[in-house]
């Protein structure tokens, strides 16, 4: 396949940045999108040019690093995949493909396609934990009974990999899907219920402080999320926060 790539290049946080066009040839349909960029980078290095900086780690859809906004969609046109799981067979010979970094005030660009997602870490630090005594007399986790349905829903929420596609894709750059998944995975379990009211208030406060947008319930996040995190989590967070606001 021969393709034309239009890739965002930006030397650093202060650089204005611009779109640069790269023709690529001999792309195999079996390559992943990242492998295709690897090939382009090899060419750039051979030509003495600066390779394109992008985040990646596991290359199997579990770390959430590979943030790329491809042809107007987070992780490209496929559903339920990250960029490393997106294959070139999704595109056609001769296609022009645009590649941009996640765009959000809370995710500043570091370089080219890499963005700083530590805003997510600070949201987790604000409440994404349970306070337990770990000094020798720990309880066996299995001693506390958890209804199967709750365990399943908590597990589904816990599959969020923190990739930020929900923020990237939301027209408001809202982090509601991510934050609600992190609130839900603990609020559903007996160990997490103890601090549930404080947790949701602290995490929402941090989310707002980071400068993420509000939720308009467009549902775009749920469609683009590689892990299928559902809007039910956002509704649960809305309930949790409402009841916490009325009682705390």
């Amino acid at each position: 396949m021969n393709l034309t790539l239009q890739i965002w290049r930006q030397n650093g946080p202060q650089d204005a940045g611009r779109t640069v066009t790269y023709p690529v040839s001999n792309v195999s349909p079996d390559m992943s999108f990242l492998e295709m960029i690897d090939e382009l980078n090899i060419d750039l290095i051979k030509k003495g040019e600066e390779p394109i900086a992008f985040d990646h780690d596991c290359r199997e859809g579990i770390c959430g690093m590979c943030s790329m906004f491809i042809n107007g969609e987070a992780h490209g046109p496929d559903r339920g995949v990250t960029t490393c799981q997106l294959h070139m067979r999704t595109f056609k010979d001769g296609d022009t493909i645009t590649v941009e970094p996640w765009r959000a005030k809370a995710f500043p660009v570091i370089k080219d396609l890499m963005v700083d997602r530590s805003a997510f870490d600070r949201v987790i630090q604000a409440g994404g934990y349970i306070s337990v005594n770990t000094s020798g007399n720990t309880l066996d986790a299995n001693a506390i009974l958890v209804p199967k349905a709750d365990a399943d829903a908590a597990f589904d929420a816990a599959t969020c990999i923190g990739c930020g596609a929900c923020v990237a894709t939301c027209k408001n750059a809202s982090a509601m899907l991510f934050v609600s998944a992190k609130v839900s995975q603990l609020a559903l379990l007996p160990q997490g219920k103890v601090e549930a009211a404080e947790r949701v208030q602290n995490m929402v406060r941090q989310m707002d402080l980071e400068g993420f947008g509000n939720c308009t319930n467009t549902g775009a996040c749920e469609v683009e999320c590689p892990k299928g995190i559902s809007l039910e989590n956002i509704a649960r967070m809305n309930r949790e926060f409402l009841s916490a606001s009325l009682t705390h």
Binding site: G72, A104, K171, N172, S174, L209, N214, L231
Partner: protein
């Protein structure tokens, strides 16, 4: 961005107020539409009695203040949310395929709301203001002088462009509600495998039928004026 606790200041609290005022406005639309129906059948007296009742009955007066407050709160809150949302993405995408994952109505709530606001201002000026403070000719009903809102309405809608403006505005309101009705339930934390599809169905019905019948009234009056 403000980060209040409780029911003010936070992003979530802003949305609760949006949803509550929005649903209250929806309930008002139903009452308003029922009151307008005599216009369609040409029942001159029934409509004027309704209009007098709406401007003088104490309970309605009390509720009407709640209504004005709701419109104001919904508008101010909506504009604040929209401003924050656009500030959350200072650098826009060169290529953003919004249609790939969200409905047009859901992506344009502020635009649709603004059209509705412009409509409300024109509408309130034409009828509410005239009824309360204007020089509307009166008619006798049960021995009492009553402002003849019926005739005012019918003469207004005999102008084609006035009717066209109303029909367009109702289409915008319909799109606003197409997303807004069910969205309000999600905002208030109601998302359920059985009930949510039902709420979405009711929302779609509401968004089609309520603005649809509202728009039908000026059309019928206009057509009648052509026949007369």
């Amino acid at each position: 961005m403000a980060t209040g606790k409780g029911l003010f200041g936070s992003s979530l609290a802003r949305k609760y107020w949006m949803a509550l005022t929005g649903l209250f406005l929806c309930s008002f639309l139903v009452i308003h539409l029922l009151g307008n129906l005599p216009l369609m059948t040409g029942d001159h007296e029934a409509f004027n009695i309704y209009a007098r009742f709406m401007t003088t009955f104490p309970v309605i007066k009390a509720v009407s203040y709640l209504l004005y407050a709701s419109i104001l709160l919904h508008t101010v809150d909506g504009l604040m949310l929209t401003r924050q949302n656009s500030a959350a993405r200072p650098v826009k995408y060169a290529n953003y395929n919004g249609a790939a994952n969200a409905s047009w109505a859901s992506r344009n709530m502020a635009l649709l709301g603004t059209f509705t606001l412009v409509f409300l201002i024109v509408h309130l000026k034409s009828f509410w203001f005239e009824m309360h403070f204007g020089n509307v000719p009166t008619v006798l009903i049960e021995g009492e002088e009553v402002k003849d809102l019926y005739t005012l309405t019918v003469t207004s809608f005999a102008q084609w462009w006035y009717t066209a403006f109303y029909v367009f505005a109702m289409a915008m309101l319909g799109f606003h509600l197409w997303h807004g009705f069910s969205s309000a339930f999600q905002t208030l934390g109601i998302n359920h495998p059985t009930y949510t599809p039902i709420i979405k169905g009711i929302g779609a019905f509401f968004a089609l039928v309520i603005p649809g019948v509202f728009a039908l009234i000026p059309i019928v009056i206009y057509l009648n004026s052509l026949a007369a």
